[in-house]
Symmetry: C2
Subunit: 364 residues, 2 copies
Amino acid sequence: MWNTILTRSLGIRYPIIQAPMAGGPSTPQLVAAVSNAGGLGSLGCGYLTPDGIRDEIRSTRKLTDKPFAVALFTPGKSDPPSPSIIQEASRLLDPYRKELGLPLSPPSPTKFGEALEEQLQVILEEKPPVFAFTFGVPPEGFLRECRKRGIWTMGTATNAAEVRLMRDSPDPVDFVFAQGCEAGGHRGAHASSIANDTFTALLPLVPQLVKENVPIIAAGGIMDGSQIVAALDLGACGVSMGTAFLLCPESGTSAPYRAALRNEAASAEPVGTAYTRVISGRLARGIRNRFMREMEQFEGRTPGYPYQYYVTQPLRKACVSAGRSDFISMWAGQGVSRIRELPATDLLARLVTEAEQNRMVRPG
Amino acid sequence: MWNTILTRSLGIRYPIIQAPMAGGPSTPQLVAAVSNAGGLGSLGCGYLTPDGIRDEIRSTRKLTDKPFAVALFTPGKSDPPSPSIIQEASRLLDPYRKELGLPLSPPSPTKFGEALEEQLQVILEEKPPVFAFTFGVPPEGFLRECRKRGIWTMGTATNAAEVRLMRDSPDPVDFVFAQGCEAGGHRGAHASSIANDTFTALLPLVPQLVKENVPIIAAGGIMDGSQIVAALDLGACGVSMGTAFLLCPESGTSAPYRAALRNEAASAEPVGTAYTRVISGRLARGIRNRFMREMEQFEGRTPGYPYQYYVTQPLRKACVSAGRSDFISMWAGQGVSRIRELPATDLLARLVTEAEQNRMVRPG
């Protein structure tokens, strides 16, 4: 069961990937703990400066000599929204700024994210064992440069057209994450030829994508060993799990985010997750909070990613400082109510035991 | 693998249920073929008169002496919409009536569905081996009457609260369908205490519901043996498959519906499925067609189930007669692109072989 194209290619023990969780949760400590325990840890570096990415990679290397992944966002170029749209989006936040004691109507941000070219350059220089990407495909030629340096590549797809895009390119990708609609965090859908995002769930999605003859890693809602076995049954060569690791002590999950996760696990009527665009400008799934509920009505009026992300960022920082969860992002998948609070090493060992037991006890 | 609480209780060979597909597809021929092949066929009788239900049950009994299920809709009482809302809903259809050569603005329907009490009475009289229900729970005492008569009962849930409702009632249900958001046809969500329908997919849903200690049958997006094995891995005691049987020659699927299904299977860019309320007034998943696309904007203005269903019914009838798929309902789940056109007996045999092979070849 543990011998798949993923474990053989990377030389890892278990086909269990700790998903990149940009914006805090995936620390070098978490990544190293997962990789040392036989899985594959992933650094979510999408929001970091080139120097920040370099530091994270080097910090991780000090903690493990096992393979790990570095993940970036690779959307295509988009024109920035007009200053008036950014201002209008910012004005909508004034009531919340007031509540948090922040200055009203501050000047619009002048920088919206890091330059992808510079981020990618760090990957080629630092040569992490695996490069993972989402929101699109890297610029032409980049995956070829990765291959030359022995860096494995993993892209993200939500439908068969996106798999074909990555498979039939001059720079084909090595592995594809099949991201089901149950997955927490940002949705990786990107093929513009797909008129409607069809939000396919993992159980039907994995067999659809496996048919395209690319090694598929299942991502979305997976929290225990029985689900890992199920994903492998469907033809996946591995799984990616994010939410499951959010309460590990090694994760950089903030205190109010942790409190909300614990509440999902303990409550008979958990709040549950939903998709929203209002936090970052891009569709993402998280635990419903006040900001998501109250801003829903303005979804059509907020700018796209990454602009909305940078407009709302000061709110999140103030909110975390104040220990409040009202306006932060609490990305989580549909399995969140079954989250467990364990050190990463113990969690991985538990997952492996559950998967192996599940396989053994199946009635004959 | 085939020995589960479902197969042991019902005395069937394989824990594979052909889902009830009311409105045509699930004929006595299909149901009997599935049951004779070792699965459990289901008659979808929600739209039938009491006499119609009796006839279907008796026809099925002539074709099989194996267990089968009879399924009804058991929504709570709802006040009918005002005549003006029905009229307005009807007026929206005039352009389509014109196109189909139907009389414009006909009188509003005077009857909206069959009386549930009379439908239920037939169940108690005819005593099919299994009674299945969705959209809610039957009136108090009814499941007790089923139990007295040796009729197994199966309800439908989309979240843990709905499972608890059926488990903790004075008339607990024997089995619960876990209906994932990938499922075709009408969504069974009903617990009004759940403010938001969370649209949980099967892979996270089944373990959540299994935790509630009720035997769970997985429903949604399942098309092949690998998915059956995956569902059992997740803790389900069986699976329910609807879409997979729609192209069987024994199914009552209409010609234009069949053509659309074949197109989903053959096309590199299938149309795909979506949820809509505009066909029946209740959320259901089907292959996107012109009616769904064009009526989307009016979703808030159309009456609820069953009223919208009866207002739109003449369009569907005319459309099927004309061999057109523009305005019919083509319920299908997210696995539809992997549908196979085989006699029901062959399809069931294929599913069993796939499941058994999947179990055997898993790398050690």
